[in-house]
């Protein structure tokens, strides 16, 4: 299998470098420290990688067996439109996650974990670059009137609050967010990339293998620190507790479920050969996988708290505790659990239905707000995103709006200035004046 290396035309490449200087200012530190943290590992390279020798016939949907599309113009308009949306959404998530991680990177308690996240951010930048490359190398005039410059500018000017998927419009409040996000939200990314690996659009399929390889580490950059944290929590370390981890899981898992799209949708993508699974099927597999992660963390915690447990009895002890017994002084509430799939939802079938963490139903907004406050990170409660959710929930419950309308509005942070450097982020480095690009910064301000 051969990897082909490609770069964007210089002005777009330069725009990504400019973006990196604004949102990933620790990149030079990563490069300087590479040998220390990642000796013997190939150094990071900002480019697009394309896997050669992949399947050239459509692998799912009604055109299975026919040659894959090499160009967007070869596709049916509806298929090209879906594909264009998927590429923009993928690009948005890659750049968006860097904007989120940068807020809390400095708060890492452990230098190794900090550099894992920093490396992961650089690789997300490469993934965004890969998606921009798909936009730049093909002709998308059949689905958009935007020029390549406008498409790329539009993506690079997005910020937390204006990204296409909700999970990327929520600011991080702590490094716990950063790590849990890797373990949960990057896991959704793995599903999307895996599904796109069989895309009927050959350039998309060829872009996926290297991204998937890098994504495997991004998940570990979340899961391994979480495993270490539950061990520290077991030893009584007050700087990280099971409760803090549980609340952060409650905050992000539901956003991860919503990233698969409405539970009732996805059939078109399957039919067109762009993805092999409908939304609900992929979402269900994802939730099961997170369930396994939670069980692993519980087992790690349990064995750290009870060193006398052995391989033979640890699993059984865990099962008995989860069933309600208190053993070795540990009860069900001392361990992590998967929140109900309908808890704290604002998109999809259960949007704004006031379902509690364990599936209990609430009838009034105040009672539900209190329940959420008990089960979400304290730092998040003061976040504008949560306030807007409660406001929309109230409107839905009072009948002032519908769940569908409220879903479409959230989350929608609005940037009003502050420390955000976005107004300087998007600048074309090559002087190539275009009337449409005269003030790119205003697009996101």
């Amino acid at each position: 299998m051969t990897l082909r290396t490609e770069t964007l035309p210089s002005k777009f490449h330069g725009a990504v470098i400019n973006w990196r200087e604004a949102y990933l200012p620790d990149y030079p530190l990563l490069m300087e420290s590479w040998e220390k943290f990642f000796p013997t590992e190939p150094k990071f390279q900002l480019c697009a990688f394309r896997q050669m020798g992949m399947c050239t016939t459509i692998e799912c949907g009604e055109h299975t067996g026919k040659p894959k599309h090499q160009k967007a113009s070869e596709m049916a308009p509806e298929t090209a439109h879906h594909l264009y949306g998927a590429i923009r959404a993928q690009a948005s998530t890659e750049f968006g996650s860097i904007q989120q991680h940068r807020l809390t990177l400095a708060r890492a308690q452990n230098e190794e974990e900090q550099f894992w996240i920093l490396r992961m951010m650089a690789e997300e930048l490469r993934h965004g670059y890969q998606m921009l490359h798909l936009l730049a190398e093909d002709d998308w005039t059949s689905v958009t009137s935007e020029s390549t410059e406008q498409m790329i500018e539009g993506i690079l000017s997005m910020n937390t609050g204006s990204h296409l998927l909700s999970a990327f419009n929520i600011d991080f409040d702590s490094f716990v967010d950063s790590v849990v996000f890797c373990g949960l939200i990057d896991r959704v990314g793995k599903y999307q990339l895996s599904m796109q690996k069989v895309s009927a659009y050959q350039p998309m399929a060829e872009s996926m293998p290297k991204m998937l390889q890098e994504e495997a580490f991004h998940l570990a950059a979340g899961v391994v620190p979480m495993r270490r944290w539950v061990t520290r929590a077991a030893a009584g370390d007050v700087t990280i507790t099971v409760s803090a981890l549980q609340k952060t899981i409650n905050k992000w898992l539901q956003r991860g479920l919503e990233m698969f799209g409405d539970e009732r949708g996805g059939a078109s993508n399957v039919k067109m050969g762009l993805k092999p699974l409908k939304n609900f099927e992929a979402q269900q597999q994802y939730r099961d996988e997170v369930g396994k992660l939670v069980r692993d963390l519980n087992l790690r915690h349990l064995r750290a708290r009870c060193p006398n447990l052995t391989i033979g009895n640890a699993e059984k002890t865990l099962d008995r505790i989860l069933a309600g017994e208190v053993l070795e002084g540990i009860g069900r509430d001392d361990l992590l659990r998967l929140p109900h799939a309908d808890f704290f939802r604002r998109r999809g079938t259960p949007a704004f239905t006031m379902i509690g963490r364990d599936g209990e139903r609430f009838d009034d907004v105040n009672g539900y707000a209190k329940h959420l406050a008990q089960n979400l990170p304290e730092s998040y409660l003061a976040n504008r995103d949560f306030a807007e959710y409660l406001d929309l929930l109230g409107q839905v419950v009072r009948g002032e709006t519908t769940a569908e309308v409220a879903s479409a509005k959230s989350p929608a942070l609005r940037r009003v200035g502050g420390a955000c450097p976005c107004s300087k982020a998007v600048r074309w480095v090559v002087d190539d004046p275009s009337p449409n690009l005269s003030s790119p910064a205003l697009a996101s301000a």
């Binding site: 299998m1 990642f38 013997t40 590992e41 894992w116 490396r119 373990g183 390889q213 495997a216 580490f217 998940l219 570990a220 950059a221 979340g222 899961v223 391994v224 495993r227 270490r228 061990t231 996988e289 396994k292 992660l293 692993d296 087992l299 790690r300 064995r303 391989i311």
Partner: protein, 148 residues
């Protein structure tokens, strides 16, 4: 009826750490999660496609970690290195190690490797026997060491 054909080999992922810890514990009698968290993280960063687990009836029953390197020990040609292999003792006889080795060698070949090497301690007779059964022969390279 259990058989080699029911053994599925796939790339390792972050959720296999617990299973690898468990297999190691069954083999070595020591619970060492920190070791495997670090080691598997390394392989996931470097090249997850040459870090494999074997599943039997839905459970992970074996693992093999390796990678392709060039220019080490004066060996310029790309060489596949098998660093560690572990099989759940309860599933011995199912051909788990063989299936892992076959898949690993195929992946090494796909990465341009023309040879594969590993180091085994003399007293691990069972391991030496396993590698011999999948075609390994003693190397002309000599492993040297000294205390410092």
């Amino acid at each position: 009826m259990s058989s080699e054909s029911q053994v599925l080999v796939r790339q390792i992922d972050d959720l296999d750490i617990s299973a690898v810890v468990e297999i190691d514990e069954r083999i070595a009698g020591a619970y060492r999660p920190e070791v495997w968290e670090r080691r598997i993280s390394y392989h996931l960063r470097r090249d997850p496609e040459t870090a494999l687990v074997a599943e039997h009836l839905g459970a992970v029953v074996g693992f093999m970690l390796g990678d392709v390197r060039s220019g080490e020990f004066g060996l310029e040609e790309p060489t596949g290195w098998i660093e560690v292999v572990g099989v759940d003792p309860r599933t011995r006889g199912l051909g788990v190690g063989r299936r892992l080795a076959e898949e690993m060698l195929a992946r090494f070949r796909a990465r341009g490797a023309t040879g594969v090497r590993t180091l085994v301690e003399d007293e691990r007779g069972e391991l030496v026997k396993f590698f011999a059964s999948v075609g390994f022969t003693p190397s002309k390279l000599t492993a040297l060491e000294r205390k410092i």
